[in-house]
């Protein structure tokens, strides 16, 4: 995949499939330390121990629609191309954590890409009563977004994926990112 943001979409899809109700995305860009960290954490059903050891093998999948599962193996390959690594930890039904690290300035590191579309498409993808928490550190600045806060404002007569609400969220995130990146 061309953008790391697309990998994030993909890894979060695993969390959604695992019936997570809280999904947390953490991105840290530390340019001085030449370090990029992407972490996806969820509270879904988790991964059994025996599976964890082989999970980045493309032939490891719980899919019934096809015999290969590509998501994690593709991400692992993306990290290894730039002296990074992929670490997956899981406590069943409590917490599953996928942590990808990259050398920030490595020539083979894919760009982060369009994180705004990542967040928006994930919100549209969330099951009912599930939430997304997003935290992005850029050097010493930070942007956070939490669907629980939006929901507490809009109440329960309107759902978060209503187009009008999504549009406000889009503008909100755009503004957040431009504040984050400005020097």
């Amino acid at each position: 995949m061309r953008e790391l943001s697309l990998h994030i979409n993909d890894i979060v899809q695993n969390s959604i499939d695992a019936d997570a109700t809280i999904i947390k995305i953490f991105v840290k860009e530390d340019i001085e330390k030449d370090n990029l960290v992407i972490k996806v954490e969820d509270n879904g059903k988790g991964i059994p121990k025996e599976k964890l050891d082989v999970i980045t093998d493309p032939f490891e999948t719980s899919r019934t629609t096809r015999r290969v599962g590509l998501g994690l193996s593709l991400l692992e390959a993306a990290t290894q191309r730039c002296e990074g690594s992929l670490i997956i930890k899981s406590i069943r039904n409590v917490k599953t954590e996928v942590v990808a690290t990259f050398r920030y300035n490595h020539i083979d590191r894919a760009p982060l890409g369009n994180m705004i579309d990542t967040i928006l498409s994930i919100i549209l993808s969330l099951k009912e009563n599930s939430d997304l928490i997003y935290e992005h550190h850029y050097n010493n600045k930070m942007f956070t977004f939490d669907t629980r806060e939006i929901k507490s404002i809009i109440g329960n007569q309107v759902s978060i994926n209503q187009i009008e609400i999504m549009n406000w969220i889009k503008e909100y995130i755009e503004e957040g990112f431009s504040n984050l990146m400005e020097v």
Partner: protein
């Protein structure tokens, strides 16, 4: 931040008014295949384009959501359009241009865009070129 909570509250109230107006009717539901195969093939820009077009045309009762792997990876990006009556149309090999047309023809005018639809046999999506 310029975007304010007050603004969000105002949008919420306006949306509630809309919901009350359109009560009962129900609209189209569009789902986009978002497994690895779909994402790699370009499902996300298709989803974003659908959202933009729905917004642009003020189609307030259309919902957009995702589904996992539909089981026909070679035909991704795949979207499914569910009518209020429950019937389903599957569109394959989507891109942003096609998404614009599906919104204009199908969601606005109720006309299925036949050239983009999949052939289904026993409920399974098959490649039209394979037959």
């Amino acid at each position: 931040m310029k975007k304010s909570i007050q603004e969000l509250e105002a949008i919420r109230n306006k949306t509630i008014d809309h919901i009350n107006l359109r009560s009962g009717k129900g609209g189209y539901r569009v789902v986009v295949g978002m497994a690895t195969c779909g994402i790699a093939a370009g499902a996300r820009p298709v989803m974003m384009r659908l959202m933009e077009e729905v917004q642009k045309n003020s189609l307030v009762d259309v919902t957009i959501a995702q589904t996992g792997c539909i089981g026909a990876c070679r035909l991704e990006p795949i979207i499914e359009v569910y009518s209020p009556d429950g019937s389903k149309v599957t569109y394959i090999k989507m891109d942003e241009e096609k998404a614009i047309k599906v919104v204009a023809d199908h969601l606005i005018n109720g006309k299925i865009v036949n050239e983009y639809t999949a052939t289904t046999i026993d409920g399974k999506v098959v490649d039209p070129e394979m037959q």
